[in-house]
């Protein structure tokens, strides 16, 4: 349990504006007055996790274009850095790896050394089932099915400032709570911030909200009364700050996609300063067994959406960049060889992207050996050379300042790899 209402202290800005329900509650005003000169959260850090469900082909996103084995393994899917007629070439990152041309948006932050890529990342558990692999990655325990909590939920619990939890500390912009946020700590799953209020016809909505607020205020059950209070506070806070027509900063243009909309809402939450620390959302459609395409097609559209959405977000929150880190993850990679339907099947390692001002960027971290058959896992897959927990726990440690990584990732004692400075 944390001190309810405490989160309100943070949010001086905008609060004295017009409250949706007609005026700001006294305690909010008091809290604001008290804390105005002493913002508790100025140092609050935010992690934004994006789960790419379906298993991204890391070898197509960040291609080892120099590798002759790879060229052979993918007769119709291989891409090169060399410009050919009517084909967009890969973006040469370091003479060895090429970034998919649809991720051009990433090039600038990579050159600015704020975007790092870890290649060969994955789970030590060799399952190639989406379900199991996602489950293991989200619980953070690759060999334990029965871990009841998700790693991000545990992270919230380990942030080490119990008294300033808010209903918006952990938010997943998804229809249902993801496995990563299952657990003891309160976490909010919400797909549209605008719906976080009492709904209905405008003529009645305020009256209904008032009635419910009164009813819950007098509830005999503690849980219902306290949560009711908190819900109405959160609602007022959110709705009074939520712009009717949100205008991203820096003319950032979000793709009109699920991920684009989710990240836009996360940006809004960050700017409202309502106490967000752990944000989660997801991107779908990575299971490219059929016709994954090259510089156009499904895969190109997916990576285009991913990079454009992330970069729109990054530009939108420019003023907060020092405190925000974005990390992508995917349950496994795909086969080195293309299959019979111009796609790729379930493999082992993939790559992920980490964006932030404290990231040791401009590098492709990790180990990717030549893709000769003898170097592959089971003779077919990019082997996992970096346990995902290496990166996750380093991010938790250096960005969120969570020291007790054994609680975050039980049964794991590895060290970080220097992805963050």
């Amino acid at each position: 349990m944390y001190t309810r209402r405490a989160f309100l202290k943070s949010s001086g800005l905008g609060l004295l504006g017009i409250g949706l329900m007609g005026g700001v509650p006294t305690f909010v005003a008091e809290a604001v007055a008290r804390e105005k000169n002493n913002p508790l959260y100025s140092k609050r850090r935010v992690i934004v996790c994006i789960f790419q469900r379906g298993a991204m082909d890391g070898l197509m996103a960040v291609s080892p274009f120099e590798d002759v084995y790879f060229r052979e393994a993918r007769p119709t899917l291989f891409m090169d850095v060399v410009q050919k007629a009517s084909e967009n070439p890969l973006i040469d990152l370091d003479g060895r790896f090429g970034l998919h041309p649809s991720m051009k948006a990433f090039e600038r932050v990579f050159r600015d050394k704020r975007l790092a890529i870890v290649h060969g990342i994955g789970s030590p558990n060799t399952t190639r089932s989406h379900f199991d692999a996602q489950d293991y990655m989200e619980s953070g325990t690759p060999f334990q099915k029965n871990t009841s909590s998700g790693w991000l939920n545990r992270a919230v619990g380990l942030l080490g400032h119990d008294n300033i939890r808010t209903p918006f500390s952990a938010v997943s912009v998804t229809p249902a709570l993801p496995r990563s946020l299952y657990g003891e700590e309160e976490a909010l799953a919400i797909s549209d911030l605008k719906t976080f209020k009492i709904q209905g016809n405008t003529a009645l909505v305020n009256q209904n909200a008032k009635s419910f607020e009164d009813l819950y205020d007098k509830a005999t059950n503690d849980l219902l009364r306290d949560t009711g209070k908190e819900s109405f506070e959160a609602m007022k806070l959110l709705q009074s700050n939520l712009a009717k027509h949100y205008k991203p900063a820096n003319n950032a243009v979000y793709p009109n996609s699920g991920l684009g909309n989710s990240l836009k809402q996360i940006a809004q939450l960050i700017k409202m300063d309502v106490g967000l620390e752990v944000a989660f959302t997801e991107s779908n459609g990575w299971d490219t067994h059929f016709n994954q395409g090259k510089e156009t097609g499904i895969f190109a559209r997916n990576v285009g959406d991913l990079s454009n959405a992330i970069m729109a977000f990054w530009n939108d929150i420019e003023a907060y960049q020092d405190d925000v880190l974005v990390m992508t993850m995917t349950e496994f990679g795909r086969t080195v060889h293309q299959n019979g339907t111009n796609g790729t099947d379930h493999g082992r390692a993939s790559c992920n992207f980490i964006l932030g001002n404290h990231v040791d960027g401009g590098k492709v971290h990790g180990i990717v050996d030549a893709l000769a058959k003898e170097n592959l896992e089971d003779g077919r897959d990019l082997p996992v050379t970096t346990d995902f927990r290496t990166v996750f726990s380093e991010v938790a440690d250096k960005h969120l300042r969570i020291k007790n990584k054994n609680e975050l990732f039980p049964d794991w004692n590895g060290e970080g790899m220097g992805v963050l400075r």
Partner: protein, 641 residues
């Protein structure tokens, strides 16, 4: 039932008791003989019984019949008076624990029937349900067995493969979401007589809603839900998903009030569980085999940790591994596109199933995949005995005291409170052990425990979103026209039914369900409930009040609060809402939002068509009633049970 019968007599009539006891002993003696001494003695005992029976049978039967009918009418009274509860309060407590919801009429009815009689009738779960059967007709496919389902509703991925194999579409044209593919997919399904996978899931969930809302066997439905969550499987795992309808309908529901060990065994053999926790692919390790296949411990671990002993049940990793080895070879029958298609060839010769292997509908024990070495679990040795080894393991685990306690506590948490009293769990665990896991006996022990009726436990549970939605339907005698729309609300309130990923099932505690994210949605649910478009519910609010049209919003609140929240202290509710409801402008506002504009109404006064005005008035009045009911459903009182 014998316990109830004999006890009732003990209280009332000592002689009758003695006679009954003698009869029962004789019957038991006969059974014992039969079991211990085999056929010959069994026959003899039988003869003795017959001989004695001739002389005394009439006498016995007379008294026996008398006693039985007496017991039927008056089972031992539940100990609620000692807890200071009135009969009405006790009736409400009972209904809130063993049904999906009630209104004031139900409370009256079970008092008339007798609380105990009602409970034992619910325990039997044999009430015929013609109305429900009719309602379920459109969703009949959800009741099909796995084999039929696999043929009729093939998985999307399989349809795609079939389309390519049949040359229906070119190999490289399969792009999910493309218009061409969608069209081709639809045509292909129609041509083959297949139905889309998603349709099955929709039907299944719709049927679930209807059963919960309208089944006469409410306790059976509640227990089905409980056991499903205890033995959780999830639509999120695509391999397991197609088998989930049959899992609930054919594995769980028929055994929900049966014996725990039989239920456990049935789940262990079900394709849904075998695939969800991977036992279907767990096989004995072959050191020299080319492909790296072998033991998968997932199921064995959950069997010990979640299904039987509990996490503190005193087992080790070695027990888990050995249990997994015992269960190697337990897999699914290869159905249309599922499972190992060569399996049947491997274990049969002609029409004969080979030594030790076993085929039982959708379950297969493949002896050739079984680990034949010796195993030890919890100190008990298991010699190589094929399929029977696993059955023995499951029965052994079911009979452990840790299991009795773990399962009893879980039931108590569901039915009594988030933190049930130790004494209560003791009573239940004892009943579990004494009855060898008879679920009826465990529940009976629970309701006969004083702790069940303790005041602290009244309204102590928070309704899950599903319970809130269904209890609203039941409280208002509403019709469910679109069950899937109702279930969308349940999802929005934080319970995505059948999609909980982890094998633990949804946590059963109030704080899981009541949080900032979900609470506003519960209120919104209340407000939208009476709107057919939003909730899929059809409701006649006036019929509920027997067409006594409430005179004012305040009056309406009074009427509906009594109906929906009998005996709850509604003074607070009224005090809080009355100023609002009597406010001059409410009716105006409601009317406005319901589309009946008052200014227009004034103009209409001049109109000849007075019927139109009446309709409009009625519409505005109905909207006012809907408003009041919405506030009650969204109120804190209605969130509890």
């Amino acid at each position: 039932m014998a316990r109830q019968h004999s006890e009732c007599v003990k209280n009332k009539n000592g002689l009758l008791f003695l006679i009954l006891k003698k009869t029962l002993t004789l019957i038991q003696y006969r059974r014992l003989n039969a079991r211990l001494l085999g056929g010959f003695l069994y026959k003899r005992a039988n003869d003795v019984m017959l001989y004695q029976g001739k002389k005394i049978s009439v006498f016995f039967l007379f008294f026996l019949g008398l006693c039985f009918s007496y017991a039927q009418k008056n089972p031992e009274v539940f100990p609620y008076k000692a807890a200071g509860l009135s009969e009405e309060e006790a009736a409400i407590h009972l209904l809130s624990r063993f049904t999906y919801g009630y209104n004031v009429n139900d409370v009256g009815q079970i008092q008339k029937e007798g609380l105990e009689r009602w409970f034992f009738r619910q325990l039997r779960g044999k009430a015929t349900d013609k109305e429900l059967a009719e309602m379920l007709e459109p969703y009949a496919d959800a009741m099909l067995d796995n084999k039929t389902l696999a043929e009729k509703y093939p998985r999307n991925t399989r349809v795609r493969r079939m389309m390519i194999n049949d040359g229906y579409i070119p190999k490289d044209s399969v792009i999910n979401g493309s218009v061409f593919f969608k069209e081709a997919y639809k045509n292909y399904l129609a041509e083959k007589g297949f139905k889309p996978e998603q349709e099955l899931y929709r039907k299944f969930i719709a049927a679930k809603v209807l059963r919960a809302a309208f089944s006469a066997n409410q306790l059976q439905e509640v227990m089905t839900d409980f056991w499903f969550n205890h033995f959780n499987v999830s639509f999120t795992k695509p391999q397991s998903a197609p088998f989930i309808p049959s899992y609930e309908n054919h594995v769980i529901r028929p055994r929900a009030l049966g014996k725990f060990d039989e239920l456990l065994l049935a789940t262990a053999k079900s394709p849904a569980m075998l695939l969800y926790l991977d036992n279907a692919s767990s096989v004995a390790e072959r050191p020299n085999a080319k492909n790296k296949i072998g033991i998968n411990e997932n199921y064995a671990r959950e069997l010990l940790e979640l299904h039987t002993l509990g996490v503190d049940g005193g087992y080790t990793q070695k027990d888990v591994s050995e249990a997994a080895r015992i269960l190697t070879g337990w897999t699914i029958y290869p159905l249309n596109g599922y499972g190992n298609q060569n399996l049947i060839k491997q274990i049969t010769k002609g029409n004969e199933v080979q030594r030790q292997s076993l085929i039982e509908e959708d379950f297969v024990f493949a002896a050739n995949k079984h680990d034949k070495r010796q195993k030890t679990v919890l100190g008990k040795d298991f010699e190589n005995n094929g399929y029977d080894e696993g059955v023995e393991l499951i029965f052994y685990l079911s009979s452990r005291p840790q299991t009795a306690r773990f399962v009893s506590k879980k039931i108590a948490v569901r039915f009594v409170s988030d933190t049930p009293q130790e004494a209560l769990i003791d009573n239940m665990a004892n009943a579990f052990l004494a009855s060898e896991g008879d679920i009826k006996k465990i529940l009976t022990a629970m309701v006969y425990s004083p702790a069940f009726w303790h005041r602290d436990n009244i309204y102590s549970k928070v309704k899950t979103p599903f319970e809130l939605a269904i209890s609203s339907v039941r409280a208002l005698d509403a019709q469910v026209e679109n069950p899937n729309r109702l279930i969308n609300w349940v999802t929005r309130m934080g319970e995505k039914k059948y999609y909980y990923i982890a094998p633990t099932g949804f946590p059963d505690k109030s704080s899981y369900w009541i949080n900032t994210g979900s609470l506003l949605n519960r209120m919104n649910f209340g407000l939208s409930f009476t709107s057919n478009k939003a909730s899929g519910i059809n409701i006649d609010l006036l019929e509920l009040t027997r067409h006594h049209e409430p005179e004012s919003p305040e009056h309406a609140l009074d009427m509906y609060a009594k109906l929906l929240l009998p005996t709850t202290d509604i003074v607070t509710l009224k005090n809080r809402l009355s100023p609002l409801l009597t406010a001059q402008n409410l009716q105006k506002k409601v009317a406005k939002s319901s589309g009946a504009d008052l200014h227009r109404q004034d103009e209409d006064m001049l109109a000849v068509n007075t019927r139109k005005i009446n309709n409009r008035n009625r519409k505005s009045n109905n909207a006012m009633l809907a408003q009041v009911v919405g506030l009650i459903i969204g109120s804190p009182e209605f969130q509890r049970r």
